[in-house]
Amino acid sequence: MDIRTKVIEILAEQAVLEPSDVREEMTLEELGIDSMGLVESIFAIEEAFDISVPFNANDPQESDFDITSVARIADGVERLVADQKA
């Protein structure tokens, strides 16, 4: 399974949706994922890819990890996975 598909699967599970209902341009708000759901999703992503996501719940906008849409989250995860392999 590629990285983007897996990220979408994780977010879909958190949002209690089918992965096919999650589109890349969607925001977390549109998915109905609140701040606690986000913290859980990031934990699931870290576990799935064995990476460490730079994210502080105090100020999600200021974190180095962009969470403005599903696509941005998937981009960020791809970058972190690539950095880890480098």
Partner: protein, 402 residues
Amino acid sequence: MRRVVITGAGTINALGLSVPATLEAMREGRCGIGPLEMRDVDRLAVKIGGQVKGFDPEAVFNRQQIALYDRYTQFTLMAAEEAIRQSGLEFDGELAAKSGVVLGTSGGGLTTQDENYRAVYEEGKNRVHPFVVPKLMNNAACSHVSMQYNIKGPSFTVASACSSSNHAMGQAFWFVRSGMAPVMVTGGSESMLCFGGIKAWEGLRVMSKDGCRPFSATRNGMVQGEGAGIFVFEDYEHAKARGAEILAEVAGFAMSSDAADIVMPSKQGAARAISGALSDAGIAKDKIGYINAHGTGTAANDKTECAAVADVFGTHADDLMISSTKSMHGHCIGATGAVELLACIMALKDGVIAPTIGYEEPDPECALDCVPNEAREARIEAALSNAFAFGGLNAVLALRKV
């Protein structure tokens, strides 16, 4: 109803191993937060905390005692010794039978749990020390104070996360105010600053990796501390009759539950506890000169707390001082309200307001006088101490100068 006064105070925390040392550090705006010293610290993402340093339990307790005293119990007994010694009380006869111990802790013997989980899970041992249970239980500290000082009345432990010691002190206040007990030993203790305790907090993503900066626009989370604060609450007439030194009066107490969210604070819940404490104490809003804030340094708490204070106090919110001493000793979790009560006593008795250190930049959502970075001299008549726990359980104490 009886008047309730404080006739003894004791503490151990990152700022000092006694009340005078702690108050001196608060006056000087000293920071007790620093690099953590513990096993496996390289496996932690958060490597700072308000750790108690320079305390050697083996210099104070014997081998049998250490076998029974978790670190949180050790903290409790250190602070209780200071408080009870200051009060000058000895418990025997009817005083012993009627007086009690009500303490707060969130996690109890967490160091003991951590060490023994390691032994059985990590090291694969199949046997643990026989006293693991009596050492880790949440009421161990309370029971040891009761045993050590022969205090035989109503005694128990309260656990409500970060409000634990305020809830405990509220119960103690009621016991004395109602006439059920002439004296109550109260406060709280916590030693969650162990590997497992920090790991759990890391998971929530609300911890700062570089410092605790309550109310500052640059704040980025809480920093854990540890320690204990113990007080002797006494019937005013009982204290006066024996000529005891009175540190302050506990004038009122109120609690509320947000009934909303397990981690996000609520302005309404906090405001109800604050105004409840004022009316319970019969103190007019404009008489409150100082509030010791819950002030965790998280984005959510500080703006919610400021909004609650502004709602309750109206225009007087701009005249009162509100500081968070967590910036210096860290968040002592179940002990935090007890350690912070010392700042209220200092404000009332010595006329010194403890600062919020680490303050860098104003946040328009926290536009109150948080006594940034330097302590201030001020004569005040009454103070509040706020505690707002995860789970939405709020507890606020009101104190008055005697």
